[in-house]
Symmetry: C2
Subunit: 193 residues, 2 copies
Amino acid sequence: MTTKGTAERIIEAALQLISEKGYTAATTKTIAELAGVNEVTLFRHFGNKRGLLKAIVEQFSYYPVLQQEINQNVTWDLEKDLYNFSLKHFEFLMSIKDLVMIGFKESIQFPEISEEIANIPLLIKKELCQYFQEMQHRGKIREVNVEATALSLIALNFGHFMSRARLGTMVSDIPTEELLQTSVAIFSRGLVS
Amino acid sequence: MTTKGTAERIIEAALQLISEKGYTAATTKTIAELAGVNEVTLFRHFGNKRGLLKAIVEQFSYYPVLQQEINQNVTWDLEKDLYNFSLKHFEFLMSIKDLVMIGFKESIQFPEISEEIANIPLLIKKELCQYFQEMQHRGKIREVNVEATALSLIALNFGHFMSRARLGTMVSDIPTEELLQTSVAIFSRGLVS
DNA sequence: CTAGCATGTAAGTAATTACTTGCATGAAAG
DNA sequence: CTTTCATGCAAGTAATTACTTACATGCTAG
């Protein structure tokens, strides 16, 4: 089907441009140009500009979260697990970087988006809480507020992601893996009893 | 002088609207309305719309960074110092929330802004590196990559800030102080030798 | 009192924007 | 071969946008 191909190309172009310039500044004309499609084709597919954004958000909500991948590779070795998770978390965020940026840029104008992107940390928090609770039962980490702990690790990874995604190497040129390794090393040492 | 008053009101209105809707979607008309000023007054003060943004960024760069405040209250008690810093860091980011948001929203369209906002973490990193180095000399923390450590703490606080600033209590309703306290407790425990 | 200066008001302009309509084309499917 | 369907192309529209010009008003300093 060539139909699906063009629609996808339009969505990709819109994703890129809206994440770069914002919803209003990304005009339907430039989106169509980038997609290599006539502007009318865009309206025939999505009705209007908001329909395009809606399509993006829908694609967003169907995006597989890294839940399974986290649970599968658990070794119950704290530092190893947290490093593996943080790396996966970081790479996941990078892979949906454009979507995350749109979410943060247009969250006030389009509240639906805020709800969608808030789902990601919520799901991850849930998984992490279960993991930390089990680690507490096993006596491998000390008594802490598991929710606050989970949120802290998420914030840590998200902070690294935002720094790299928007500022690149302007703040530091330490390789991402090394950065994550150091932060996870500190974090896991701070959790062991 | 009423002049200064109006210019400031226009900047404030622009700050709010551009941070909410983005540069393009925040029209000069709505900015003038929010400032309670005629639209032409805006152009008489700043020439054109970009001049307004420039004025915002300039105000931004003259903003006092929390450097002194960090150095003044140092007790060389790791957890106490880091909590104090994290709270100040968080409150500082919240106080310039609109500016930070503009920085992240328009960093691609207006690269000058990126450079300005990248300065904040850079300055803070420098201060933190000095602190951690001194703490290492005093034998209070173990041998770690101080730069990566500083960046991690900054990322941690920034992550908390972004979560609260954009998602509010959607992700969690734990009070900010409690969150910061937990994350700093883990972080500082992970640093002690 | 008056001269200057910041602001308001009214009106307009050229460009851009989202979106529409009508028609041509070409490829695939029956 | 013909019908259907996705797309391209040309042209246009109403609304909005950044920005300008000309003139009126009111406050303040000398």
